[in-house]
């Protein structure tokens, strides 16, 4: 079953974190991804730039509206995601608990519904 792990955490700049904490975080991420890959469950992942780099777009009444900043103005922002293929929710929960983001933020586990294969939507499962 495909699950997307959405990592939410309060954003801190590299200056706020300091070089040591930053390095630890990066190492944790490196190790986590390698472990997932080793286990054969990792379909993909990405860590995003901080939310100040976001731009939002909506189209209403045929007009494109552009706004700076992220979708929601919350303290905890979406920081990245992992897409896993595991047998059931318990397995996903186990991996989510080990995600670096779980320690400093919240991990949301959402099962996938459909995904693209060569640009074509294919139902999951």
């Amino acid at each position: 079953m495909r699950y997307t792990l959405l990592l939410h955490y309060p954003e801190m700049s590299p200056e706020e974190l300091g070089p040591e904490v930053l390095a630890q975080g990066q190492e944790a991420m490196r190790s986590y991804a390698a472990t997932l890959q080793q286990a054969g469950v990792l379909l993909g992942a990405e860590v995003l730039q901080p939310s100040h780099a976001s731009t939002t777009v909506t189209v209403r009444d045929g007009k494109l509206r552009i706004q700076d900043g992220p979708f929601s103005d919350t303290k905890e922002q979406l920081g990245g995601y992992f897409v896993l293929d595991v047998p059931n929710l318990d397995a996903a929960l186990d991996w989510a608990g080990r995600a670096p983001g779980a320690q400093w933020g919240t991990v949301e586990i959402r099962p996938g519904a459909t995904h693209t294969v060569d640009g074509v939507w294919v139902p999951n499962g």
């Binding site: 047998p87 059931n88 499962g125």
Partner: protein, 434 residues
């Protein structure tokens, strides 16, 4: 849903044997069959539908073809075929293909640590990813075969709301991929309270024998208190040193020791000689085991909810020996219960006991407080109306007592209880005549 559909088919008078066999299978095996069907797929709704279809077919075909040598095996085979048809349909997406699913036979030697798959299913319903307030209702429906209306009544929630919540919960189990697997020993401890609550629900919601379905006028297949006792014993045995599960088993044995069916007789008016001594002895053994565990765990261990409820039943049962009910002792136990596990039902029960121990005015004060705190719930809660009527009558306020009895009647579905209430109402009305 499954239990309701069973009664929609008309049944010939001459097919009593086939009907009885199907109903016996329904009562004894519903949960086990459902657990077997749902295991490995996670889709409880499809399993429920398949099982309901199988029961319908049984009721149609067994009268003509005869009851099969293994009714449960027959039902399982038919239900599995129905399940396969459902999966082939494009509406259902499943993680595993049919070929990959391991569905062990009910009597296969490849067993889990728990001898009864119903326990596995109960524990699955208590998964942490399932919302707390829907775990017990889910167990009551999927494992124990109660319908949304019965469960709703037990939780003071409208039937339609409960039905919707259950549908959503089962959809979530399927969509989120919550697995039907036994949790490890650590998880067992955290899930146990929900399971015990569901077994307890089985004891308190189970209809007494002789209850008829209002649609077809035939005995409605519902889990019995015996099923609750069996499950409680199963849990207690599996754990060994858990006081609450032994207490629950004791409670079930006490409840089962009293004859049911026919006329409704309130507990304090029942003839103690009619109570089953074997079950009473069993109850006392279980109660002893529970208190041994509690005392082993150190001084001042607070008795749990079921230990208190079992103790309350033990006091009632003690009437066999003592010749009367010790209402003051009961009042203390009820008060303790309301500290540990207060519910509207337990508070009303305490008020009823207070009427005996301290008189009707004290009871009415309690009932008035309750109505102030929970006006809507008390309005539609049958035990509240009964307790209030009882206190009013005892206080000599026959007009108000009559009103309450009428409301109680309105809220009561069980025919035997209705007859009892009607008798009370007539007696009260007789006091009203100048």
């Amino acid at each position: 849903m499954g239990a309701e559909r069973l009664t929609l088919r008309s049944m010939s008078e001459h097919d009593a044997d086939a009907r009885a066999a199907a109903e016996l299978a329904a009562r004894a095996s519903y949960g086990r069959l459902l657990a077997t069907l749902a295991a490995g797929t996670g889709d409880v709704t499809v399993a429920e539908d398949a099982l309901a279809d199988a029961f319908e077919q049984a009721l149609r075909r067994w009268p003509n073809d005869g009851v099969p040598a293994s009714p449960e095996g027959w039902l399982l085979t038919v239900a599995r075929n129905r399940q396969r048809d459902e999966w082939k349909s494009a509406r259902h997406r499943l993680a595993a293909t049919l070929e990959g699913i391991e569905v062990p036979a009910m009597d296969s030697p490849a067993r889990t640590a728990f001898p009864d798959r119903r326990l596995s299913l109960l524990l699955t319903c208590a998964h942490p990813a399932i919302a707390k307030d829907i775990r017990t209702p889910l167990m009551l429906q999927t494992v124990l075969g109660f319908d949304a209306a019965q469960i709703g009544a037990a939780f003071a929630v409208p039937a339609a709301t409960m039905a919707q919540r259950l549908v959503r919960a089962k959809r979530r189990i399927r969509d989120a991929g919550i697995p039907f697997e036994l949790p490890g020993p650590e998880a067992l401890a955290s899930r146990l309270p929900s399971v015990l609550e569901a077994v307890y629900g089985c004891l308190s919601i189970a209809a007494p024998a002789g209850t008829v379905d209002s649609v077809q006028g035939v005995p409605a297949p519902r889990p019995t208190v015996a099923e609750g006792l069996f499950l409680a014993e199963l849990v207690a045995d599996s754990l060994g040193n858990d006081a609450e599960s032994w207490s629950l088993a004791a409670l079930a044995a006490f409840l089962l020791s009293r004859p049911v069916g026919g006329t409704y007789v309130p507990l304090e008016e029942q003839d103690p000689g009619s109570w089953n001594t074997g079950l009473l002895r069993r109850a006392e053994v279980y109660l002893r085991k529970a208190s041994d565990v509690t005392s082993e765990s150190g001084d001042h261990a607070t008795p749990g909810r079921f230990q208190l409820e079992a103790a309350i039943q033990a006091v009632h049962a003690d009437r066999v020996r003592a010749g009367r009910t010790e209402w003051t002792v009961l009042a203390t136990l009820h008060a303790a219960l309301n500290l540990v596990a207060p519910t509207l039902g337990s508070k009303v029960a305490e008020a009823a006991v207070i009427r005996r121990a301290d008189g009707p005015l004290a009871a009415l004060r309690r009932l008035n407080d309750l109505a102030e705190q929970h006006p809507q719930e008390c309005e539609r809660f049958q035990p509240y109306a009964v307790a209030r009527a009882d206190a009013l009558r005892s206080a000599g306020n026959f007009e108000a007592a009559a009103e309450c009895l009428e409301r109680a009647l309105h809220l009561t579905a069980d025919e035997a209880v209705r007859a009892h209430l009607r008798t009370q109402l007539e007696a009260v009305r007789a006091r009203l005549k100048p």
